[in-house]
Amino acid sequence: MIKESYREVEDDILVKAALNGDKDAFGEIVSRYRKMVARTVKGMLGDSAFADDIGQEVFIKLYKSLPEFRGEAKLSTYIQKIAVNLTLNEIKRRKRFFSMFLQKGNNELHEFDIPDNGDEKRNDARETVNMALMALDPRFRIIVTMRMLQGYSTKETAEILDLPLGTVLSRLSRAQEQLKEILKKL
């Protein structure tokens, strides 16, 4: 259980407390940003069992890199960057893994996602969105995830993804076209 007293505390104070080994302070950071990370990871990987593992890795990596966090960017942006990097690495890793065993063109990631059979009720709306997102190329999927699911501006998306603004805009436009076609077919 997380200490109630941390609920109203600002991020930088939580970071300092976590650096001093305060478990509750870090617990509050996890609790504050878990949904944001889930949107990025599950938006990119689908509702798979792997998504929880990647989510955990995001917070473990955050904990390890806290001494390097200087507070120049918002903590949420810092966490988002970690989530994006780990998710994209996972996609690359899976692509490499499956391309070793399968013929080219047959290694689309969404075909290998393991459905999460937890006690959560199936969410049809989420399945529809996941299916549409999974049909997009990962380069476009990440842009749609940042813009539509997270609500970042194109400038913020460019900053998080370390891409030029022009690249984000052109990818967004292509992603939107593709997404529209996919959703119409669903």
């Binding site: 949107r39 390890k64 937890g118 699911l149 997404l179 959703l183």
Partner: protein, 119 residues
């Protein structure tokens, strides 16, 4: 806010893509209806994993910190030595040219040949 079903979500996204609806409205509707989250006990698992790793992570922090400190000390000492060397060179030779750095500023080429060959 009422959660949207599959077809409502589809319509919302398509109309937002066609009519350029305000992105924040679409995002809040999507966040509400899709409610992405990790499974129960996520926080506890993360904290357990982190604090099981803690001694290793702490050692890593301490190593990084002492490495940085040692690096700054060595760099500062090195920089100070270079400055002292340059000052003493300037006082002795009167300039900081490349020749004076090599210690051959007042040697003629004949004397260098003599020095190298012994003739």
């Amino acid at each position: 806010m009422k959660k949207m079903n599959s077809s409502e979500i589809r319509k919302l996204i398509i109309s937002s893509l066609e009519n350029e609806t305000d992105n924040s409205i679409v995002t809040s509707e999507l966040q509400e209806s899709l409610s992405y989250d990790f499974s129960e006990g996520f926080e506890e698992t993360v904290l357990e994993r982190i604090f099981a790793l803690e001694p290793v992570v702490k050692r890593q922090f301490e190593f990084d910190r002492s490495f940085n400190l040692a690096f700054y000390r060595i760099a500062f000492t090195g920089a100070a030595a270079i400055v002292i060397l340059l000052i003493s060179l300037f006082l002795k030779e009167g300039s900081l040219s490349f020749d004076s750095l090599l210690g051959v500023s007042d040697s003629y080429s004949e004397s260098i040949i003599c020095l190298l060959t012994g003739k």
